[in-house]
Symmetry: C3
Subunit: 132 residues, 3 copies
């Protein structure tokens, strides 16, 4: 897009398609989109679904750390995390890993529900929104 | 809209209530709100719930296309899509319609869960966030 | 952070960790984060889970009102509300309280699903995104 030197040109650019930065784009989904200072992550699940809730939560949080780092963000800047558990009996063990991972003073708004996930072995999925 | 030449006037307007644009406002919900360059869509479901997952997914995606177009956005600018399936057995058929619909290089972050929806005939609901 | 009088200092601040304002921060979660003109609330549930769906919905909406007021926002500025019901039979009673609460012309985009919540007595949870 041709732009001028006027400030309005920068504002217009914010509504341009090129203002969305995508990470790991595939035919079905990408892992993260960054737009206007906000990171929208895909629901993160365990790469190794054979692990128990502790291991799966650790994997999910490590995946979140890695994605946020690529965008220049971090777990200090979480805006909201929606957590889906396959089994609510896993709630305490998931929370233990979660609380150990969180930096002091940075706990984000959360919402947790129980639902089945796309693969039967997945016990936890986290959907993260974070600031850049 | 009448505007002045002062940049601050535009910035202040962004935190004003009038900066939210709503579409199809009813007593219970509206179908879309646009604020600060981001489109928040209501969960889209099939108008004709008698169709199978392929037909319902096509209806949902057409509804998303139509709403985004009214805001001046499009499926090229999706920031995240949360998908709720009534039955995970519908996952492959939903994905086939989804992938055929997506423009190359524009796949957004996604999260998919299994849950019952407000009407028993609904097999899929999609909750879209998109850039303007 | 030391800043200069240059406009760029304000822009940079928007991507600084301090640009996130958190409310009721605990070791596990906070109740609200405000960033870049948007309020992200934690999933709100009833403090008194012994009440029926009408009472629980009233409690949830009062909690939302209180949080939004602390940020300087209100139910006039909702951008999207995601509703989780433990039992879809509660849908009409929840909607009656919801519609009585909403100001005319301000109904936000919604999505409703059925899922179990973190405590068995909770019948409804609402996840709110609002403009400042």
């Amino acid at each position: 897009m041709a732009t001028t030197a006027m400030p309005m040109a920068n504002i217009a650019k914010d509504t341009d398609m090129s203002s969305i930065q995508r990470f790991d784009v595939g035919p079905r989904l990408s892992e993260m989109a960054v737009h206007n200072g906000v990171c929208y992550l895909a629901g993160q699940v365990a790469a190794d679904g054979s692990q128990d809730i502790t291991g799966q939560t650790q994997q999910v949080l490590a995946a979140i750390d890695a994605l946020l780092a690529r965008a220049g963000s971090s777990k200090h800047k979480l805006l909201r995390v929606e957590i889906i558990l396959k089994d609510l009996a896993d709630f305490p063990a998931m929370n233990a890993v979660w609380e150990a991972w969180l930096p002091a003073g940075c706990a984000p708004p959360r919402a947790t529900i129980q639902a089945n996930l796309a693969k039967p072995e997945w016990r936890v999925e986290m959907v993260v929104t974070a600031a850049l």
